[in-house]
């Protein structure tokens, strides 16, 4: 059976942004589809406030749209996107002085088909996790979300946060250590 290669080989982010710079609006849409879910989840997990996450999400993508012409193609798009999102989220958190913990009553949260017992157990874990995350410092929560949920490597994180790889390593270490302690309490 003939396999259509163009369906398998996806354009890289950088190729898409290059095409968008040349005026191809579809390329932006593709980037949006690719990053909408990871970015929103990142922001929700980091800020702990779904409404705030939505606001920052919108602003971050809007900034990408506006500043795309200035994007340096030798750099990685995802790093740039997260850098924008992190800066905006940190700004918003400081301005609004958001009080954690994370809100759990989000309509759009995807519910799995599970039994009531399992549901109860899962909710327990969720609540514990959200509480533990809310005890972490902003710095530690951010690094944990970037590393654990977004799956970025230390070098990428160091570029996003504009710090050394050594600092990232140490923050990841202390973030997880603290989280573990909170969960065990």
């Amino acid at each position: 059976m003939a396999i259509r290669l163009d369906l398998i080989i996806q354009d890289s982010d950088e190729e898409l942004i290059r095409r968008f710079q040349l005026g191809n609006a579809d390329a932006f849409d593709q980037l949006f589809v690719r990053y909408e879910k990871p970015l929103l989840n990142f922001l929700y997990r980091f800020t702990g406030d779904y409404q705030l996450a939505e606001d920052v999400f919108q602003e971050a993508f809007f900034t990408v749209y506006e500043k795309a012409q200035k994007f340096d193609l030798s750099k990685k798009f995802s790093t740039w996107l997260y850098e924008i999102a992190v800066n905006k989220a940190v700004d918003k958190l400081r301005k609004k002085k958001v009080v954690l913990p994370l809100k759990s009553e989000i309509e759009s949260i995807e519910h799995d088909q599970i039994s009531p017992e399992e549901d109860f157990e899962k909710r327990e874990i969720q609540t514990r996790l959200q509480k533990a995350l809310s005890f972490l410092s902003e710095e530690h929560r951010l690094i944990l979300v970037l590393k654990h949920y977004q799956g970025l490597d230390y070098k990428e994180i160091s570029e996003i946060l504009n710090c050394s790889v050594g600092t990232v390593k140490s923050r990841v270490y202390y973030a997880l250590k603290n989280l573990k302690n909170y969960l065990e309490e």
Partner: protein, 289 residues
């Protein structure tokens, strides 16, 4: 151990940790405990963007594409500031040129072409200054990085400077003419010359078309919007900027001639604008490529 679990260790380090784990129960239980913590982290439920959120973002982007946001865009891009800076520089260029080159000459002996050359030389200096400013601001050497990426900026500065030099030159000469000639005769002469200016009208129109295409190539990359307003705006702006300057360089200067050239330039720009709009609408060309 955390970096080991996240796969952030080198090959040698992984081997070392694996061997150590085989012998150390304490580290093994610590590893298990960490694994459990990571497992709990994985329990975090995912959220998905709602249709409402997508719609809001789309609307915002659409607004950005609109005419109202263009002003804000220009301000954000510091375009107006750059143009204002170029205008000031153009004025300085002409005044200094006039002062240096013609201080011993009466005004009617001033060669417009000389002034124009001065304008261009000054523009060159201006570009060099721009390069320096860019280097100071970003720490990047734009000459090494490639001039082509900054071509739109350079073109903007040069065009605006030349335009200002041209307009000021004609203004100085118009002042001089009204001073030495009787007003009534002057206007009659102007009218007659304008009627005879059809050759220059065509020249102006042709140069306007060429300059419009050049403007498109150099500058339209910046405007992704494909609306008539933008096409006409960009076409007229840069055509009016460059066409009289180029034409002055080619033909002897006269006020009537200049008027004919301006009319020709305007018509050329308008034709080119409408033509481009038609081509874009028919998707024959893409403005931004």
């Amino acid at each position: 151990l955390i970096h080991y679990l996240y796969g952030e260790l080198s090959e040698a380090e992984i081997i070392e940790v694996t061997n150590h784990l085989k012998e150390c129960d304490g580290c093994q239980s610590e590893l298990e405990s960490l694994r459990r913590t990571l497992g709990i982290l994985n329990e975090f439920k995912e959220v998905s963007p709602t249709e409402e959120l997508r719609k809001r973002l789309k609307e915002r982007i659409e607004r950005q594409r609109g005419w109202i946001e263009l002003g804000n865009h220009l301000l954000r891009e510091e375009l107006l500031l750059r143009i204002a800076f170029s205008v000031v520089f153009g004025i300085i260029a002409v005044v200094t040129s006039v002062f240096i080159l013609t201080r011993n000459l009466p005004l009617n002996k001033i060669e417009p072409r000389i002034l124009l050359v001065c304008g261009i030389i000054w523009s060159g200096t201006y570009i060099a200054l721009f390069g320096l400013a860019f280097y100071r601001r970003t720490g990047e050497n734009w000459l090494r990085k490639g001039i082509s990426s900054h071509l739109p900026n350079i073109a903007q500065h040069t065009l605006v400077s030349i335009a200002v030099a041209t307009i000021l030159t004609s203004f100085i000469l118009a002042l001089e003419l009204s001073g030495v000639t009787d007003f009534k005769t002057h206007f009659i002469n102007l009218f007659r010359k304008f009627h005879r200016g059809w050759v220059y009208f065509i020249i102006g129109g042709a140069i306007a078309l060429i300059s419009f295409l050049t403007s498109c190539l150099l500058l339209m990359r910046k405007l992704k919007e494909q609306s008539l307003v933008h096409v006409l705006l960009a076409g007229c702006l840069f055509t009016v900027a460059i066409a009289p300057g180029l034409t002055l360089f080619c033909v002897p200067f006269m006020v009537g001639t200049y008027l004919s050239l301006l009319c020709g330039s305007g018509s050329g720009a308008l034709t080119a604008g409408v033509l481009s709009y038609w081509l874009v609408r028919r998707k024959v060309v893409h403005l931004s490529t």
